[in-house]
Symmetry: C2
Subunit: 284 residues, 2 copies
């Protein structure tokens, strides 16, 4: 029976370290601050926003929300985002995506300065992940998955890692972060035939598909480490991951639950990134 890799102890450990360092900054009259930019009233965004604000409070980081109407014009949006970016008291900016259709992300993504871009929206940070440049910011979700692997001391060097999903927000950066730790990495996706055959080779399997409980026990190798990045709502209205945790737990050695797995670490990573951005801004 595989051990459940709960997110809470990981998040707590990160948050504690962040809090201690924030105290040191405050003693130097430096106050880290997160600005959340939300367009519209998507329930997922609102619930993540609440969790993020609570996390920042716990770490001594200021946070504030800029709420914009869902039908905001691109020009107005750009103006708002620029003014947030130019605010020197703001160290990190979290912008909820996807943006409404009238706003062209390919234009807007350059506005948040790379140094304030704590969730990897700016191409400068996308490039840094590929380059292995640690001055950048990876998206919070794949970074949270990496933090879990690190906390639970999962050896990555020389291991077979398989990532299911090739999104810019999870799959591709996750692959690059695993590669950086010397894993051999395979990226699978919706066009991959015989998916279960491939995933069964993985020592570390990362599921970032977005389909409720799609990964069954025949997708995993005996003893595998399974990281479930999915957050779905099943037919009965229950939150669940991409992995059928109950069935896979028999075979896996370690497996993250959903909820209470990767998702619960992302706000702690967000806090860590705000702290890092604040240090960068102050040349610390």
């Amino acid at each position: 029976m595989g051990e459940l890799l709960k997110g809470k102890p990981v998040a707590d450990a990160i948050a504690k370290e962040v809090k201690d360092r924030v105290q040191e900054l405050k003693a130097k009259n430096i106050q880290p601050k997160l600005m959340i930019v939300r367009v519209g009233e998507r329930p997922d965004d609102i619930s993540y926003e609440k969790a993020a604000i609570k996390r920042m409070q716990g770490c001594g980081i200021d946070s504030q929300v800029v709420l914009l109407p869902a039908d905001i014009s691109q020009n107005d949006f750009i103006e708002k985002l620029k003014s947030v970016n130019n605010d020197e008291s703001v160290h990190g900016i979290l912008l909820f995506r996807p943006l409404p259709g009238q706003i062209d992300e390919s234009i807007v993504k350059h506005i948040i300065s790379p140094e304030k871009d704590i969730d990897c929206f700016n191409p400068a940070n996308v490039a840094k992940i590929v380059e292995g440049d640690k001055t950048g910011f990876a998206p919070c979700t794949p970074r949270a998955a990496m933090e879990i692997l690190k906390y639970y001391k999962v050896e990555l060097k020389g291991k077979r890692a398989v990532v299911i999903g090739r999104s810019l927000v999870v799959g591709k950066p996750m692959a690059m972060l695993l590669l950086e730790e010397d894993a051999t990495v395979t990226i699978c996706h919706s066009k991959t035939p015989e998916l279960s055959k491939l995933t069964s080779e993985a020592d570390i399997l990362v599921a970032a598909i977005g389909r409720a409980r799609m990964i069954k026990d025949d997708f995993i190798k005996e003893g595998a480490v399974v990281i479930d990045v999915g957050i779905n709502v099943d037919r009965d209205g229950n939150i669940c991951g991409d992995v059928d945790t109950e069935r896979c737990r028999e075979k896996a050695s370690l497996i993250t639950p959903v909820p209470a797995g990767v998702g619960s670490v992302t706000t702690a990573v967000l806090a860590k990134h705000v702290l890092k951005a604040c240090c960068l801004a102050n040349n610390i």
Copy 2:
């Protein structure tokens, strides 16, 4: 006995298309131009430079070389590179790398504008490969490998591709380009154990290791397509690839030779990129 995928017909087809389009531009008084920036007298650079100039001539593209001393200071180098970049008659810039140790590539890589950066030095182009944004420029070598696969009509969608090597110049961008074509992609490297076991699963195997004839027939699957990106000099002074072509040819269905394989397509890709940069500059 596998068919040899020679680079020449691929390069010829690309060059013909480029030449025809350059003629059309010239009729509009637009003259595409490549600027090559070379630091020092490395023989590999000089031989590639010669081939590139010849290729540009064949396509009707102007080319010019800025030669800088190997001991140039970083400040002088930056000044020169900026002036080349600001020259409006120049559409594409090829800068030989690696640069001498006194020049910090992490600073210098931002100088060439993304629109003139035809060999993917600027992080803006690195990000575009990951994003699948076709307005950017991939490095010429992995793009040349893709051109060969396209020319010889190798199906990529749903196929298992294995890339050996994770450099920023070949391995990583190659993986992203294959992923863009819906292949399932595995990236292996020096820390991958049981390499031959993994590479034997590949429908398409790309070798970008830099070790003479390292890939033997037991590394490849019966009927695989083998793309050899390596250019090495063996003990006898002969140029050879990362693949032992003679031994692997028995098993492979298609295999690129070295020399006369991928390497002979890169200058044609370079010409194609200069043309594209020229069109971008002229809003065509």
